[in-house]
Symmetry: C2
Subunit: 404 residues, 2 copies
Amino acid sequence: MKINENFQKLPAGYLFSEISRRVAEFRTNHPEVKLIHMGIGDVTLPLPNAVIEAMSKAVLDMADAQTFHGYGPEQGYASLRDLIAENDYKARGVDITPDEIFISDGAKSDCANLGDLFDVDNIVAVCDPVYPVYVDSNVMAGRGGELDETGKWSNILYLNCSADNGFVPAIPESKADLIYLCFPNNPTGVVASRDQLKAWVDYALSNQAVILFDSAYEAFITDESIPHSIYEIEGAKECAIEIRSFSKTAGFTGMRCGYTVVPKALKRGGASLRDMWNRRQSTKFNGASYIIQCGAAAVYSDSGKREVRENIDYYMNNAKIIASALKAAGISFFGGENAPYIWFKAPNEADSWALFDRLLNEANVITTPGAGFGPCGEGYIRLTAFGNATETAEAVKRIVSLIQ
Amino acid sequence: MKINENFQKLPAGYLFSEISRRVAEFRTNHPEVKLIHMGIGDVTLPLPNAVIEAMSKAVLDMADAQTFHGYGPEQGYASLRDLIAENDYKARGVDITPDEIFISDGAKSDCANLGDLFDVDNIVAVCDPVYPVYVDSNVMAGRGGELDETGKWSNILYLNCSADNGFVPAIPESKADLIYLCFPNNPTGVVASRDQLKAWVDYALSNQAVILFDSAYEAFITDESIPHSIYEIEGAKECAIEIRSFSKTAGFTGMRCGYTVVPKALKRGGASLRDMWNRRQSTKFNGASYIIQCGAAAVYSDSGKREVRENIDYYMNNAKIIASALKAAGISFFGGENAPYIWFKAPNEADSWALFDRLLNEANVITTPGAGFGPCGEGYIRLTAFGNATETAEAVKRIVSLIQ
């Protein structure tokens, strides 16, 4: 019996469990202090009424043999796939057919499970800083190599992001096979322009690479020139898989629903990646919940769209509050304009965790240390716009007065 | 870019898609004929009221910021894990702690994803006939080897089941590392006695193997001497992972909820498999839906338990109807006593698919051909007890008159 030894290579501590530990310690020592949460990327507004009504009805469907729903299609209900094709793609001039769309229990599962389609012997490229799931799931699959003292894996190609390149990485000079891109970006909140995405598509096409494009935050884009989907770029259907989520768009973090698009035009090694993903999902997944899919379908109703827009506007107003306060204080930052994340560096503190601790202990605000997303995040802090507006204003006031 | 070539080894046709194709063809040619479905393993009774009420409330929780639930624990809510530990284990004298229980979106996902914990270089043992997911997920991971003309994979150890051993396989003479066992069994409906399970636990302990025990059908056991959990066997915590489902127990096929138990005592290669599964689920999964988990918790309420029992009794009454009719006709069969499946061979037909076609075309009953579950299933047919009682009686009458 041999276990998968790659698991043993992963460092024990997770970013968010370390944050929880420090917060719990603070709370034990200072039970009287009310902390403001600006760290976790979870939504706080309740679900849209349209979603609630659709799910209430779906629950009752399950109470009657005539309307009961047992096993659904592993790919998701056709009605929901049709709505996605129509609203998320056709409405933006992109032709994606429903049978290229796979509904799942969330973008995190899809991001991680997509690795099943690829050989262990591929070069993975990720941005630094990056959403840890891309890296950790590949390390588990044996694509990491060894961890060095700077926190980088020997077989992973890191696309360095910094203030110099506006946290949008340059096209690498060496060859990568699997490229994870996330725009609008978590954690930095930056977006990629059409030209920047075009350069990545061209690179992938000429290297026979596959882009795994995470567009979980596309609903937060306000600048009309920024693509919402990689498929707005010519040639992307021949080289990209797109992963989307209802979590941040419609407040579905506790509901569990997302989807992945694998175009039929995407072929590698003579095989259709769409057919491979279909086989993977049919074998290792049993469809998303009927009730949750009914809720997701309601996101595309007229009232659903209006309510979702209102919630996103609320969060983006928080982002504006944060951005304005930082700007007024002369603190430079990234994001916040087309994403619910703001990424900034304190003028007088080069260590993310030290800054995290000062913000926790002295400003009583919980944030996320940028170093937790990769070595290039060192010195930075991620703030999220998913909180309450009044608390957000108070928190950013305290942050500014502490670090200015 | 190298794709995972193991996918290309899998035969294109699935059992259930081939059945659907033949049924669709029949329906096109005979639109006037009403078919009775005795094939698919899906439930038909609506959800218990206790579950409906709990989910209706949970949906409303999501409509109010005060009771809204965002991201939940990847391992599932502690309240549900406590109920499982108490009701499914402690009540049967088994000490499983809540932190050894991992809630998921279903047993199919867990069965397939558990492979992540093990090296590609392990000998997998499966019963023949078998639930195809065990085999296909291992083939995808590279543990299959090559497919031979009899439908067997060169690197998989098949535990042959037949009428001679009552479809409970003998302990193998060679060494296996990962052993998939499912009792009550899908597709044969047979159960394993305490002594039979003890022999497997002893084998696993002495070979340092791991048993993946699928007890999705434990709620259908009527014989009090039959173990519901592998952990009722001494030593099992050091060698077994148990996978369970709310699907068949409580009608959750369209809901998506199951759980997996990985005891802390289970260690291999110096590592805790519980900690590895925790890391896998934390990295590649984001928890089951809050609403669905609230529904699952209601299964353990007094009224939930009563209603679940009534539904299971209804299905088991169908099993009795089938069993009595076959017995009266002198047709021998397996299962139906402690499982919702009946497994029989026609006296005058040695080919599963030919028998399937005759039952479809002449008796107008949809069944499942045993050969679809593996070479040892050849000649057999699986009937399920999940239908309507009147239709079930009519279907089995037609089957008997056709094959007798």
